[in-house]
């Protein structure tokens, strides 16, 4: 390649990745600084960051699959909650954790299908469709919730052999329970599908200009259904994470707004899997820090203020660093075929 061309490529490369790389460099520098000072605390905070981010990143992937195909999913919270409940109950009854996770995922997918039916086929306002799912989940899980049920166990960390022995990186990245691993893999999978496969191209086309997709023989309704159902399955996995991996039991309203935070994470990440992952990690980090600070008790600040940290951070970052994000053009608009 000639020099000017490669120079242009380099500029393009910088334009595309420059900000991300700079942020990564700063983050790494900060991590190493703290690791040198207090390795145990740093490890704990980072590991907690990753785990806190799991339901958020899965929820955000659910949201962005839907919205890339122009279906707004505000029911992620409900999908997670219902999946957490069903997963937990299956675990209580059968003691089979894998089966329980699968049932949680299936629950999410079924609720995804319900949302798709309401918003794609019936063309109900999508916000209302999602709200229906949220209310349904809170109502059903609250009604059938039984105090005192306990399950035989939860998903435990699986150290990945020698990788888990690497200092800092090992305990943080390679000594995690299965759904945490899965969430990381899924970020890459969703990115690949969305940006490097025909299905992804069609999905994005359906989200931007469904009529154009239709005139090229793409089945707009099918694309939307599949994306929303697969998204639901991911939200289901997030629910399973909460009740089967993080806590090991079910509590009323245990999602505690994570489904909505996931939507913020999705927007923050500009509707891209990696962006969402970064955003989820930031939220996770803020939560982890808050816990750590409250534990340490060194700061003489009322704990309520420390509790605000994640939200404060969100506002600062959203307002200061993220440029104007642009949602898919047809987002939230039901598609009507002609003729």
């Amino acid at each position: 390649m000639s020099t000017p061309a490669s120079f242009a490529n380099w500029k393009l490369f910088w334009k595309r990745w420059g900000i991300g790389l700079s942020i990564a460099a700063v983050v790494l520098a900060v991590i190493f600084y703290f690791y040198a000072r207090s390795p145990r605390v740093t490890e704990a905070v980072l590991a907690s960051t990753l785990r806190q981010s799991v339901p958020l990143v899965l929820g955000a992937l659910c949201g962005l699959l839907g919205e890339r195909a122009a279906v707004i999913n505000i029911g992620i919270e409900g999908q997670m909650l219902m999946a957490a409940y069903v997963g937990f109950m299956v675990n209580v009854r059968t003691g089979n954790l894998l089966f329980a996770v699968l049932m949680g995922v299936l629950t999410g997918a079924v609720l995804g299908a319900l949302l798709a039916f309401m918003s794609v086929t019936l063309k109900i306002d999508q916000i209302i469709g999602g709200t229906v799912i949220n209310i349904l989940a809170i109502g059903l899980t609250g009604y059938f919730y039984q105090v005192g049920l306990s399950a035989q166990g939860k998903l435990n960390p699986i150290p990945l052999g020698p990788l888990a022995k690497i200092p800092l990186i090992g305990p943080v990245l390679f000594d995690n329970p299965p759904i945490t691993y899965a969430s990381i893999v899924l970020v890459f999978v969703v990115h690949y599908v969305l940006f490097h496969t025909p299905w992804g191209l069609r999905t994005r086309a359906v989200g931007e200009h469904p009529r154009a997709a239709d005139t090229l023989g793409i089945n707009v309704y099918l694309v939307r259904y599949v994306n929303v159902i697969v998204g639901g399955a991911l939200a289901g996995l997030a629910g399973a994470y909460l009740s089967l991996e993080a806590v090991g039991s079910f509590e009323r309203n245990m999602t505690n707004g994570r489904g909505f935070v996931a939507l913020a994470v999705m927007i923050f990440g500009k509707w891209t899997p990696f962006g969402a992952w970064g955003a989820a990690l930031l939220f996770g980090f803020a939560t982890a820090m808050q816990t750590q600070l409250q534990f340490a008790g060194k700061l003489h600040i009322p704990h309520q203020f420390i509790g605000m940290l994640p939200y404060l951070l969100t506002i600062v970052v959203l307002a200061g660093f993220v440029g104007r994000a642009r949602p898919p053009a047809a987002d939230g608009i039901p598609y009507e075929k002609e003729g």
């Binding site: 931007e208 200009h209 154009a212 005139t215 090229l216």
Partner: protein, 516 residues
Amino acid sequence: MSEETLALEVRNIVKRFPGVLANDHVNFTLRKGEVHALLGENGAGKTTLMNIIYGLYHPDEGEIYINGQKVTIDSPHDAIRLGIGMVHQHFMLVPVFTVAENLILGAEPTKGWTLDLKAAREAVIRLSEQYGLEVDPDAVVEDLPVGVQQRVEILKALYRDAKVLVLDEPTAVLTPQEVEELFVIMRQLKERGVSIIFITHKLKEVLAIADRITVMRRGRVVGTTTPSEVTEQDLATMMVGREVVLQVDKAPAKPGDVVLSVQDLEVEDERGLIAVDGVSLEVREGEILGVAGVQGNGQTELVEAITGLREIRSGKVVLGGHEAPDRNPRYLIEHGMAHIPEDRQKHGLVLSYPIADNLVLCTYYKPPFAKGLQRNEEAIEENAKRLVKEYDVRTPSIFTPARSLSGGNQQKVIVAREFSRPVKLLVANQPTRGLDVGSIEYIHKRIVEMRDQGAAVLLVSAELDEILSLADRIAVMYRGKIVAVVDADKVTRAQLGLLMAGSPAEDVLDKEAVPA
């Protein structure tokens, strides 16, 4: 009927919509390698017929033949498979995708599971070389000018191996230069054996490019002819079903006092760039000043600044001898300004409101339409009934939402509303864009009447014909500046075309034509 096989033939196509017979036993043939123009007013059934051929609508009756074979086309997918490509009036391109991505969408080359964008890029380059349609495969579509976007649409069809290309009103969005380029492309496609159906309602274009012409009116084919057999006037008569006055009859202008005076106006566009760059102009009572120019040279911003819809960066707009103390639209309207906006659906009407409400959008708060805080329904309805009749708005009722009217009737609603007040200054921006011959004739007549009643008219149009037939004086706008102001009878089409393309006025015009 000759023995040659036809690229496409439709026989006895019938398509009914609720309350309308959109296609009434339509017959149409397309020979191989010809440009066949399909001419008709809005609502004549051209687009319906094409949507049937492209599989977007299903005909109630009738048959379609391709290369002599009877076919059924149930979806665009079938149409594409049969070698039919369509360039829709509103482009079917994903704005945030690159040219290459748009090209392959729906028929993607892959390597394993992965999109092969390299192959897509090569396909763009190969096709653009083959057909002489230059485009950058990596350009993002929304950054491209409309003319180039249209090329991408044509490439999309060619990528799918289209042998029959349907161009639905392709020139409606193009500048005169881009139209010329499109015609060159069409001729090249023809030479390579592509058969083209060219849908339009512009008579000049039909005569310039078509091999055969089929005229439709109210869902029926009126006749098929060739350019050598007919004149513009004949075609207009066939389209409308009666004699049409193509040339506007108007007496010489009798200019009076200056009504609108714009001095050294500078206006920014959305991106903060200078769109209107030091414009000064005057419009007098009883004259029409036409602003000619290729779209996007600052006309939109100029009009918005004059009508109070956009901030002025510097300079003055003086209406009726004194600068408006308060440049909001209501003040200007109350002081005798009428505005026919460029985009009638976005800025001219509230589409979901009934016609009756749209007709009082500027006056609803004043008696007789308001009684204290309440609406006076009686007065509003009476006003609507009167205006609908007077301005010949074709609508089922005055309570019909503006959305369901045709473009021509929507424009008549706007004209009726704006002209029903005392008007000192009329600002009309693209008043006849996308309208059929009948509506154009009507609106032109009304504008001239307005002038003859003493109003000052500022007419902005990208259609040279419109400017030439209506304006008394012509200002040419290029890159935000007025490059020349000339009397309409002292300038030729060719000269205007050059000025619009940026040639310096001193080179183009005779000395005496340029006013000091």
